[in-house]
Every structure is written in structure tokens, then in C-alpha cells.
Symmetry: none
Subunit: 210 residues, 2 copies
DNA sequence: CAGTGTAGAGAACGAATGGAGAACGTCAAC
DNA sequence: GTTGACGTTCTCCATTCGTTCTCTACACTG
């Protein structure tokens, strides 16, 4: 009856989740992987045998590495660290002017240095097209976007237009008018009534690989 | 560095990691490589035999140089001294066309994701000026440079001219001629005899903060 | 009530870690 | 050549650790 596929396993029990949270805490604090005794002590438990069963459930769920005599201590698997700021941000897809965001089939993350991030929650988009080429953003570049719903004039934003199209442009807002400015002489500025535009975030960083 | 072991090898044990940390401490203090006795004494151990086993595990993990009768003392391998700075590359200064690299007064490093790096040794430079603006490299950007002494035509290189000036340009090489091409119509291509040019590296990545 | 699931304690087993120390051979210094 | 330092290999021993299992207690459901 052991189902190896994590998607098909029953949901984690309360205790299993508590163990996972404890492990994530330790991971955030950069503690070495705890032995069963250490983990048990930190949770007020006395029996390695009992704890072992909880840990094995997490192993089966793909969240924890399997242990053995040579792999001691309870280690979280990569990606099970619960969005700590260890370096990876979600790559949500690609953005090309006038289209919806092309979501990826498999969720990905991308390492982004702290120096390129904003203070709030960030995500990454891949740029398609050259509408911002004069601002030094080329086709294929990654942009780091801080989730925000407002922006200052001149900031580069990811904007949702009419709840269906997404675009990356510089924004100029005045009462009754919202202008999205490209950085490419071959493209035209676009003007909208403010209620048609929804700012999804502001660009705070950019990266390119050659 | 904990994850530097190839897939399949068990992670370092606690003791092995403690030995590694002790070696890194000595490295930071510029101490000479300790003998097994010295290292053991500094860790409260009495047996060179036991310690030797830990050191050999670090050798197998590629973190420590192999010892023998002539190579005495425990030496960290290059790059193994930097524990928590595994993602950091040296920031060597800034590069503006026609000037020497402006070295920093205090050595700095910069976090650079693996995705932006080349296979070889890399360093980072800050760009000054806009001679490469049409290639999407703006004043203030960081470029990730892989140390190389040769490049293919069309690659962007950091080149030393006449052993004194440094510049960031696209390179075109033919017999008897070496051309450094800007990406800004306000700047002129420069031609040199090949022996006047020394390629310091090739640009493999770029980053910008807003 | 019986059955099921969760959760804990604790015992036992075997493997692995990690230590001490002895012995051997190599190497450099004298 | 001699000597001491040093790396290497090996044996032996103690402890830790993961794993498996049994038993018990509690809560919930039909």
C-alpha cells in the first residue's frame, strides 16, 4: 500500500507538519541537520522510534532526504525550505507586450542575488521582445519584479491591461490618464483610462546571460 | 559548500565538517597548513590516525589537498576556504573605456547566480560609461567576466591595451589586426596591432539594480 | 462497543562514527 | 649515517545513530 508518488499520498498529519516546520526553522537558522534525538529533544519527545515514523512520512512525501547509517541527521530536500530567502525566486513565466503571461508548465525558481531584489515579495519574469531595448532590457533578459500595486512616474512596471494582457513598460500617470511608454522608437506610447490598468509589480532588477 | 559533494556521496559527517571549519579558521588567520599533530592538538584530539581519516574524507570530497611525505600539513584546496560565500565572486573594480581598472580600496565580493557564470574562474566589474549602451549594458551595470586570454569574434571582452588601459568592447580579430567595437554610434571603433591587445576575460553575464 | 488512525514510549539490533594507539616507511635536517 | 617528525595503515574499543518492532493510550466514527 506504499504509494511513492507524493501527489497521491494522504495529506500530512498535524504531527508530520509540526516536524516539517521544526526542520524549516532549523534550516533558516543554518543549523546542521539534527539527529532524531536532537530533533526529538527540541520537540519534547523521547522516542527516536516514534519520531522516525513521522520523518519517514516526510521522506515518502518527498520533503526530506532519506537517512541511513551514513546519511545521518534529518535533511530537508531542496525546495522544501518554504520560500526562505536562500536565493531562489519564483520564475512565473515570460512577458511579451500585449499578451498574457506565458506561465511555465513546471514551476521553476531562479537564483537572484539580494542586491537585485526589492524589500517586498519578488518574482522573476523572462522578457520577450524588444520594446524596452533602449532601457537596456533585451529579449531573453530576466527582470526581477517586486509585487506592488502602485508605482511612481517613470518606474518600469509589469502592468495588467483590461484584466487580460500584460506588458512591461515605463509608466506615467496623471489624473484620468495612464500612459505606458516603451523604450524603442519603433513602438508607440499607449494611453489608457486609469481603471483599465492594474500594476502587478515594479522592476527592481535585471539579469542577462551570454 | 556542504553540497559540493557529487551526487551519491554521503554528506560530510559532523566531525568532518568540524575539521573543515577548523582549517578555514586557520586559513583566514593566514596560518601555515597544520600538521596532523597540530590540527589534532587544536581540536583536543590525540591520535593522528583518527584525524587522518577525517582529513582523507575531505580529500575525497575535493576540499583538501592530498598529503604525503613531501607534502606535509593539511591544505585547503582553492575555493574551499570560503564557506558561506560560495556564491560570491570578487568585484575587482570598475571599467571605463581607456582607463586602468579602478581598483576598490577594500576588497569586495558580489553574489552572482550560477546561471550567469562561465565554466572557468570569474570576476565582476562595474561598468562606467555608455560605450556599450546599444548592447544593453548601461552605466553602473555589473558584468560577470570569465578569465580567458582568447575570444571568438563578436564576443564581448575585457581587454588590456598597451599593458595600461582597460576597456570593455566587442572584439573582431583578423591576421595583423584587432578591432574593438563599441555599441554606441557616438563612439568610434578602435583598431590595434594584435600584440598591443591582451584579453583579460570574456563577458558571460550582466546584472543591474534599479 | 469495535475498529481505525494517530501518536507516544521504549527495547533491541546492526551499522557507522570516532577515538586511542601501535607500527611502518618516508622525508628533511643535522 | 642517525634522528626525529610526519603521513599512513591498521586493530581495537566505546558510543552514537537509524531502523524495526511491540505495546499502550487516546480520539473519532459507524
Amino acid at each position: 500500500m506504499e504509494n511513492v508518488n507524493p501527489m497521491g499520498d494522504p495529506p500530512l498529519t498535524r504531527m508530520q507538519r509540526a516536524v516539517l516546520e521544526r526542520l524549516r526553522d532549523g534550516h533558516r537558522e543554518r543549523s546542521p541537520p539534527p539527529t532524531l534525538d536532537e530533533l526529538g529533544r527540541s520537540m519534547g519527545l523521547k522516542s527516536r522510534g516514534s519520531l522516525h515514523k513521522h520523518v519517514q512520512a516526510l521522506v515518502r512525501a518527498g520533503l526530506v532526504e532519506a537517512m541511513d547509517g551514513r546519511r545521518r541527521g534529518v535533511r530537508l530536500r531542496d525546495g522544501a525550505g518554504d520560500g526562505d530567502r536562500a536565493g531562489a525566486l519564483p520564475l512565473l513565466g515570460s512577458v511579451a507586450a500585449g499578451r498574457p503571461i506565458e506561465a511555465l508548465e513546471v514551476p521553476e525558481t531562479l537564483d537572484v542575488p539580494e542586491a537585485l531584489r526589492g524589500r517586498g515579495e519578488c518574482f522573476v519574469l523572462r522578457v520577450r521582445g524588444d520594446s524596452m531595448v533602449d532601457a537596456g532590457i533585451l529579449d531573453g533578459d530576466w527582470v526581477v519584479v517586486e509585487s506592488r500595486t502602485s508605482a511612481r512616474n517613470g518606474e518600469m512596471v509589469v502592468a495588467l491591461v483590461d484584466d487580460e494582457e500584460v506588458t512591461l513598460k515605463r509608466i506615467e500617470q496623471s489624473p484620468g490618464r495612464c500612459t505606458l511608454l516603451p523604450a524603442n522608437p519603433a513602438c508607440e506610447p499607449m494611453e489608457y483610462a486609469p481603471e483599465r490598468i492594474r500594476i502587478q509589480g515594479v522592476v527592481v532588477g535585471q539579469m542577462r546571460r551570454y
